[in-house]
């Protein structure tokens, strides 16, 4: 999937299987990614687990789990808040659109999590105070949201672009007519700015031919607009390529 880290780094990763996104003193988030088409190492998220750790007199430990076609509006114990403690309502799950969009508010740690199902796959977004984000031990382990994907798990999507916009072999059989021009036009409808969300969208359409990925990129950017604290950093542009009109290279 495409990953935007806490430091606004943008990567496309393989990370097939289960990987931790966040692992700090208050919160643990893990995603499971599966291959989307044969012949490509591209994967997408099919499962997401969030553990809110027991916190003083505010909340009990709560686990939220979503899978493709199962986006519950409750924790796995059926509850929608933080349990029996004095501040239980400082942790709540809210269904914004049934089966498509849920939001978890963890006020005791100033954190908001958005989980969506778009097509067959899940998207994840979080807003978290920097102090909470940094509350972990040095040896606590990998967190994709913190340092991004390991180098050997990153994908260079320019290889796909260099192919002239043709699809990887197996996907090409499934979607022979899906060329770069079509993908670009479809993505342009939802993402008019030529940033990395737009380019992710084109990559995903070229890789899968699945138009739902256009919406996934669109909603990911909507979540940035809602959750990111710096309006100047909503868009991220490719560092080594051409820059959009009006934006000079740093």
């Amino acid at each position: 999937p495409h990953l935007r880290t806490f430091t606004d780094d943008f990567q496309t990763c393989k990370v097939r299987g289960a990987w931790p996104l966040i692992d700090n003193d208050y919160l643990f988030v893990q995603v499971t990614n599966v291959a989307v088409v044969q012949g490509s190492s591209a994967t997408a998220t099919s499962k997401l687990t969030v553990i809110f750790k027991n916190f003083q007199n505010c909340v009990d430990q709560k686990v939220y789990q979503a899978e493709t076609d199962d986006l519950p509006a409750a924790f796995i114990d059926g509850s929608r808040n933080g349990g029996e403690k004095h501040g239980a309502n400082s942790l709540t799950v809210t269904e914004k659109a049934a089966g498509q969009y849920i939001e978890i508010q963890a006020k005791y740690i100033g954190t908001t999590i958005v989980v969506r199902q778009v097509g067959r796959y899940l998207t994840f977004a979080v807003r978290m105070p920097e102090l909470i984000m940094r509350s972990f031990e040095d040896n606590q382990g990998l967190q994709l949201c913190l340092k991004g994907c390991p180098t050997n798990e990153r994908m260079d999507w320019r290889l796909v672009e260099a192919d002239g916009g043709h699809l990887p072999s197996q996907a090409a059989v499934a979607h022979p007519s899906f060329m770069r021009e079509t993908a670009t036009a479809k993505c342009r409808e939802k993402l008019p700015v030529d940033d990395l969300y737009f380019r992710s969208c084109v990559f995903d359409l070229l890789t899968t031919g699945d138009l739902n990925f256009t919406l996934a990129a669109y909603y990911a950017f909507e979540d940035v607009k809602n959750l990111h604290s710096n309006k100047e950093k909503f868009h991220i542009y490719e560092r080594t390529a051409d820059f959009p009109p009006g934006n000079s290279a740093p």
Binding site: H86, G110, A217, A220
Partner: protein
């Protein structure tokens, strides 16, 4: 070896705490102390003060039934007022990150992470 720094941080965190009444915060401070000593373990392996601290932490955690797993940072909170002591030490304000920060840092820095697509 920076064991003295760990000692100072622990003393600062527990100064003014009434151990019997504030066991949750005491355990948090002990876990933080333990975490700090672990970070200095290699550099302090021949330091008597370090080994003394490690054993002392274990004893205190056992005495106060502290779990080894749990938060190591108390939530940022404003200085308690006399009203806080009259009502609850665990009043809902401490369960609201932004409210608890209001005096120290009215505009906390927020970060964002997102994952989508294929």
């Amino acid at each position: 070896c920076r064991i003295l720094k760990c000692n100072s941080e622990y003393l600062a965190a527990t100064s003014g705490l009434h151990v019997d009444e504030e066991s949750v915060e005491f355990c948090i401070a002990l876990r933080a102390y333990s975490q700090c000593t672990r970070k200095t373990a290699r550099a302090c392996r021949g330091d008597l003060a370090y080994h003394s601290a490690v054993h002392g932490i274990e004893d205190l955690m056992s005495q106060h039934n502290c779990s080894k797993v749990g938060p190591t940072h108390p939530p940022p909170r404003t200085q308690p007022t006399s009203l806080d002591f009259m009502v609850h030490s665990d009043a809902p304000e401490m369960c609201n990150y932004e409210k608890s920060l209001q005096q120290k840092a009215p505009h906390p820095n927020y970060t964002h992470c997102g994952l989508f697509g294929d």
